[in-house]
C-alpha cells in the first residue's frame, strides 16, 4: 500500500423515517470496519474503495464509495414495516389508517353505562398487508377470535367480537375501543392450536391516556409484531405522529436486545417533562438497560416524576427502581411486585433480583407475578405469559370451547416453560411422552390459580378404585426438584446453578431457587405439594406403566425432600 495516498472526507448521513435509528458502518476496501455510529458518520480517510452499510429494523442497505474526492453520501432509510398503521410505514394501507383513526376516537363498546372512564384501551389488529393472498389464507376468520379484555381481577369485561368491535373481514382489520377507569387490565388470548398457545398481556391504563395496541394477524395473532403506544384520549390515534415512528424503531431495537435512544428523542422527552407515560417508561428502561456509555444522563428524579404520573405502586415503577439500583450499584430497594409490568424487561429484572436476594421478598408470595415467573413468553418486549387459568366470568365459568383448550399445550421447545397448568383438562399422552389435547369438559374454575406450581389443585381423587394421575406429576418444577434429589447430594456441586447456592450442607430451597430460576416460595410450595401428594403419587406409580411416570418421582426421592432446608 502506498503511504503517500491522499486523504479525503467521507460524510455519511441517513435520511427519512427513523433515520436517527439507522446504524451506519464504514468498511475499507479490505473489508475492515473503520467506524460505526447511528445516523451520521464523518471521517477523513485515505483514497480508496469503501463500503457503507445502513442497518435498520433488520434491513441492510449498502453503498459502495469511490473515495477519490470529498464525498457526502445520504442514504434514505429503507421501507419500514410495522403493525402500527402510521402513514409512513410501508405496510400501512390507507384503509387501515383511516379506520384506526376513526375507531380510536369513538368507543366501540360501553363497559360501564354509569360512568365513562377517563382512560381508554384502543386495539387495532389487521392483516400484515392488504392483499388477496391474505384474504384467501384468512378464510374469513375474525381477527378478534379468542381475544377477551379482563379487569384487574381477571374477570371478563368483554370479548373482541360481535357488537363489541368494528371489523372488516374482507379488508382484514378489527378495531376495539373502550373508555375505562385508570388501572390494571389484561388482554387475554385463548390460543388456537399447539403452535399458538394461550397468552395474557397485562395492561395499565393511565388517567387521560389512551393505550393503543397494534398487531398484525393472519391465521392467528403475530404477537412479536405487537406495539403498544399511548396518546391522549382526546386526540386518539394520529397517523402522522412523528413520535410513533421513532418509538416503533426504539421498540424494534429493544426487541433485538439493543437499548438505544437517540439523544434528540431523549431530550424531547425531558422537555416534555415525561408527561407521556409509556414513552417516559421506555426512555427510563432504555437508559438503565443500556450497558454502553450514553450521550446523556437520565435526571435522577426521573423515576420520581414518572411515579407522580403513574402512581408509586405501578409495577413498572417498581421494576425501574430495581434496575436503577443495579445500574447505580446501590442497595436493592424495598419493593413488592404484585402485578406484572408492561415491559418484559421489568419483569425479568424483578425476577432476577428476587432470586438473587430472597430476603427482600421482591415478588409477593402467591401473587399473580409469582405464578407467571416460569410462564413468561419472551418473543416481544411486552410482558406476556401462558395464562394461569381461564378468565373469570360472572358465572365463574366460561362456556366450554374445545377449539382452544389444546392451545395451552406445546410439545416443541417453547419460549416459556410449560408447567402443564389446567391439570383438570389435560391428559398425559403416554405414547408421545408429552402433554396432548385435553380430555375434560374444560370447565375448570377460573380461580384455580397455580396448577403448575402445585397450589390450588382440585380435590384429590383418593378412595377411587383406580388412582388418577396426580396433577403434580405434570409439573416440570416438581420433576426438576426431584431430579436434583435423585442425583444425590454428593453430585450437587457439579450441577450448574446450584454452585451459586449454599450446597455444603445439602440441598436448599435457596439453591434450588437459583438453579431453577424461580422463587423460593415456588420451590417450597412445590415441595409441600409433592410431600402432600406422596400417597397418590406412589399409588399411581404402582399401577402405571413405566413410561407414564418419570422415575424421579420415587418414594425414596420424595422422602429425601424432608432433608431440604
Amino acid at each position: 500500500m502506498n503511504s503517500d495516498k491522499k486523504e479525503y472526507r467521507l460524510s455519511v448521513k441517513s435520511t427519512g423515517i427513523m433515520s436517527e435509528l439507522a446504524y451506519l458502518t464504514i468498511m475499507n476496501g479490505f473489508m475492515e470496519v473503520i467506524d460505526q455510529n447511528y445516523a451520521v458518520l464523518e471521517k477523513t480517510l485515505p483514497e480508496g474503495i469503501y463500503k457503507v452499510t445502513l442497518k435498520l429494523n433488520e434491513q441492510v442497505l449498502e453503498r459502495m464509495i469511490m473515495l477519490n474526492q470529498d464525498v457526502d453520501e445520504e442514504i434514505p432509510t429503507p421501507e419500514i414495516y410495522s403493525s402500527v398503521v402510521s402513514q409512513g410505514f410501508t405496510s400501512s394501507h390507507e384503509d387501515y389508517s383511516r379506520n384506526a383513526v376513526a375507531i380510536s376516537k369513538q368507543a366501540t363498546v360501553v363497559l360501564n353505562k354509569n360512568k365513562k372512564g377517563t382512560g381508554s384501551i384502543f386495539i387495532f389488529f389487521r392483516y400484515p398487508d392488504n392483499s388477496d393472498l391474505s384474504r384467501e389464507s384468512s378464510k374469513g376468520e375474525s381477527l378478534g377470535k379468542g381475544f377477551s379484555l379482563l379487569d384487574a381481577d381477571r374477570k371478563l369485561l368483554c370479548r373482541l367480537e360481535g357488537n363489541e368491535v368494528k371489523e372488516d373481514l374482507n379488508a382484514g382489520w378489527i378495531g376495539f375501543n373502550a373508555y375505562v377507569e385508570p388501572g390494571g387490565y389484561y388482554l387475554y388470548y385463548a390460543g388456537r392450536d399447539k403452535e399458538q398457545l394461550a397468552r395474557e398481556i397485562p395492561l395499565t391504563v393511565y388517567k387521560g391516556w389512551q393505550l393503543q395496541l397494534f398487531c398484525t394477524s393472519l391465521n392467528g395473532p403475530q404477537f412479536p409484531s405487537l406495539k403498544i403506544m399511548v396518546s391522549s384520549v382526546k386526540e386518539g390515534f394520529s397517523v402522522d405522529d412523528a413520535d410513533n415512528y421513532i418509538i416503533d424503531g426504539i421498540l424494534q431495537k429493544m426487541h433485538n436486545g439493543i437499548y438505544f435512544m437517540p439523544k434528540s428523542t431523549f431530550l424531547s422527552l425531558i422537555n416534555n417533562k415525561w408527561q407521556q407515560p409509556v414513552k417516559g417508561l421506555l426512555a427510563a428502561y432504555i437508559y438503565y438497560l443500556n450497558k454502553d456509555e450514553t450521550e446523556y444522563e437520565l435526571p435522577h428524579d426521573t423515576i420520581d416524576r414518572l411515579s407522580e404520573l403513574l402512581g408509586k405502586d405501578a409495577p413498572d415503577i417498581k421494576a425501574l427502581k430495581i434496575l436503577r439500583a443495579s445500574h447505580d450499584h446501590t442497595a436493592i430497594p424495598e419493593v413488592r411486585m404484585d402485578r406484572p409490568c408492561l415491559f418484559l424487561a421489568g419483569m425479568k429484572a424483578a425476577i432476577s433480583k428476587a432470586i438473587e436476594f430472597p430476603e427482600k421478598h421482591i415478588i409477593l408470595e402467591n401473587s399473580i407475578v409469582e405464578d407467571i415467573v416460569d410462564k413468561l413468553y419472551t418473543d416481544m418486549v411486552w410482558t406476556s405469559y401462558l395464562p394461569i387459568s381461564e378468565p373469570k366470568t360472572n358465572e365463574e365459568t366460561l362456556e366450554a370451547d374445545t377449539t382452544y383448550k389444546g392451545a395451552f399445550l406445546k410439545n416443541i421447545i417453547p419460549e416459556i416453560n410449560l408447567h402443564a397448568s389446567f391439570g383438570k383438562t389435560m391428559a398425559f399422552d403416554n405414547e408421545n411422552f408429552g402433554f396432548d389435547l385435553p380430555l375434560g369438559s374444560g370447565s375448570s374454575s377460573g380461580s384455580d390459580f397455580g396448577g403448575g406450581t402445585g397450589r390450588g389443585r382440585p380435590e384429590s381423587k383418593r378412595g377411587k378404585p383406580k388412582v388418577e394421575r396426580p396433577e403434580i406429576l405434570n409439573s416440570t418444577l416438581a420433576e426438576s426438584i426431584l431430579y436434583f434429589v435423585d442425583r444425590s447430594f454428593d453430585n450437587m456441586s457439579k450441577i450448574e446453578g446450584v454452585r451459586s447456592g449454599n450446597i455444603e450442607e445439602g440441598l436448599s430451597v435457596n439453591g434450588l431457587s437459583k438453579a431453577l430460576n424461580v422463587t423460593q416460595n415456588m420451590v417450597q410450595n412445590t415441595i409441600n405439594e409433592i410431600v402432600r401428594d406422596k400417597e397418590n403419587i406412589v399409588s399411581y406409580g404402582n399401577q402405571a406403566k413405566k413410561s407414564e411416570l418419570n422415575k424421579v418421582f420415587s418414594m425414596e426421592n420424595i422422602d429425601k425432600l424432608n432433608d431440604i432446608y
Binding site: 500500500m1 502506498n2 495516498k5 475499507n28 476496501g29 479490505f30 473489508m31 475492515e32 470496519v33 485515505p46 483514497e47 480508496g48 474503495i49 469503501y50 463500503k51 433488520e58 434491513q59 441492510v60 459502495m64 469511490m66 477519490n68 433485538n256 436486545g257 415467573v373 416460569d374 413468561l376 419472551t378 410439545n411 416443541i412 421447545i413 417453547p414 419460549e415 416459556i416 416453560n417 410449560l418 408421545n432 411422552f433 408429552g434 402433554f435 416440570t476 418444577l477 420433576e479 426438576s480 431430579y483 436434583f484 457439579k494 450441577i495 450448574e496 446453578g497 438453579a515 431453577l516 430460576n517 424461580v518 418419570n550
Partner: protein, 333 residues
C-alpha cells in the same frame, strides 16, 4: 508437522425425538472436523478429533458418548499440558443464562427436560482441569429461554486445580434468540447449513485471513459476526453472534491459524461492450487497463479479499472478492 497437542470434540445433531429435524448440523460438524484435521486448518491428527453425529430414529448420542470422547482425550494426558481444545456443537439448544446455553441431546423432550449439556459446565471443566492452554467453543444452536432446566455438566470430575487456560466461546445467537439454518452457497456448493457454521467455516477457510496471513481471534470474530448476520438476513431472519473471551495468557490478536496465504480468487471479467476499461484494487491502484472489444475477457486474475472497481467510460461496477471462492466470473456492461 501436525498439531498433536490439539484435540477436539465435534458434535452435530440433526435428529431429535420430540424436536423438529434439522438439516445442517451433521454437515456443519463434519465440515468443521474436516477443517480441524486439514493441514491448512487446525492440523490436528485425525485421532485427536472426535466427531459425533446423530442418526435417524435413534436416541444417540447421549451425554455419555460426549463424555467418553472427552475422557479419551484426557486419558492421553501425560503431564505435558495440551495446547488446544476445540468444542463444536450444532443442534437444538436452549438459552439458560446470558452465558449458559443448554445443548439439547436427541432424547430431549418435556419429560427429559434436563437432557441438555451445559455449555458453561463443559467450558468450566476444560478451564478448571487445566489440561489445555487454550479452549475454543463454537456453539451453533438456538438460545430461547426456558426455566426449570438443569443443564448437565460433564460427568468427568475435575482432577486438577484451576489453571490458566484462555477460552473463547462463540454463541451463534444472542441469549433468548434463535439461530437459523438455510440454503447457503460458498460459490461452488449450495446446501443447508447453519448460518453461524457457514460463516465460521468460511472465516476459518480463508475469508478471515488478514494481510499477515493469520486468522486471529479478533479477525475471526469480526468476520463471523457480520457474515452470520448477512446470511440470516438473506433468509429474512435476524441473528446476532455473541462471544466471551477469557484471557488466560493470550489476547484477541493471537492467531488461531498462522502462515496462511490470503486466498486468491481467480476473477474473470467478460465485457459485454467494448471500450477502455480499468480494473482497480481496494486502494484504487490500477491492476489492469486497456481497450477491449465486446465479448472479450480479462483473466483469470488472482485477487485477494477486498472490494475492486471496474470502470468504463459509462459506468463503474464494484466487485466483492470474499476470500472464499476459488473462481469468479463477472460480466461487465
Amino acid at each position: 508437522m501436525p498439531n498433536s497437542r490439539d484435540y477436539a470434540v465435534v458434535v452435530g445433531l440433526n435428529h431429535y425425538k420430540k424436536l423438529p429435524v434439522l438439516n445442517g448440523p451433521i454437515n456443519d460438524a463434519r465440515r468443521f472436523g474436516k477443517w480441524l484435521t486439514s493441514p491448512g486448518g487446525g492440523d490436528l491428527p485425525v485421532a485427536n478429533c472426535k466427531v459425533i453425529v446423530s442418526r435417524p430414529n435413534a436416541l444417540h448420542p447421549i451425554q455419555d458418548d460426549i463424555d467418553q470422547a472427552l475422557a479419551e482425550i484426557i486419558e492421553a494426558y501425560q503431564g505435558d499440558k495440551f495446547r488446544r481444545f476445540y468444542f463444536f456443537f450444532a443442534g437444538h439448544g436452549i438459552g439458560l443464562k446470558w452465558d449458559v446455553s443448554g445443548l439439547c441431546m436427541p432424547k430431549w423432550s418435556d419429560i427429559f427436560l434436563n437432557a441438555v449439556l451445559s455449555s458453561k459446565g463443559y467450558l468450566d471443566y476444560i478451564v478448571a482441569s487445566d489440561f489445555f492452554e487454550e479452549a475454543y467453543f463454537f456453539l451453533d444452536c438456538c438460545r430461547n429461554r426456558k426455566s426449570n432446566v438443569s443443564p448437565l455438566p460433564p460427568t468427568l470430575g475435575v482432577v486438577k486445580d484451576r489453571g490458566s487456560c484462555s477460552s473463547l466461546i462463540i454463541h451463534a445467537t444472542d441469549f433468548e434468540n434463535v439461530a437459523g439454518e438455510g440454503l447457503t452457497s460458498n460459490g461452488t456448493d449450495l446446501k443447508i447449513t447453519g448460518f453461524f457454521s457457514q460463516a465460521l467455516s468460511d472465516g476459518l477457510n480463508g475469508a478471515a485471513v488478514n494481510a499477515n496471513g493469520e486468522i486471529t481471534i479478533d479477525g475471526l470474530i469480526q468476520y463471523v459476526i457480520p457474515k452470520t448476520e448477512q446470511l440470516a438476513i438473506a433468509q429474512n431472519m435476524s441473528q446476532r453472534v455473541t462471544y466471551q473471551f477469557n484471557n488466560g495468557g493470550i489476547d484477541m490478536n493471537t492467531p488461531i491459524v498462522a502462515g496462511k496465504k490470503q486466498l486468491a480468487t481467480q476473477l474473470t471479467i467478460t465485457f459485454k461492450k467494448g471500450g477502455v476499461m480499468v480494473l482497480k484494487n481496494p486502494v484504487l491502484e490500477i491492476i489492469k487497463n486497456g481497450y477491449v472489444l465486446p465479448g472479450e475477457s480479462w483473466g483469470p486474475i488472482p485477487l485477494i479479499k477486498g472490494y475492486y472497481s471496474i470502470t468504463s467510460p459509462e459506468k463503474t461496477d464494484f466487485v466483492e472478492i470474499d476470500g472464499v471462492q476459488k473462481t469468479r466470473n463477472y460480466e461487465f456492461g
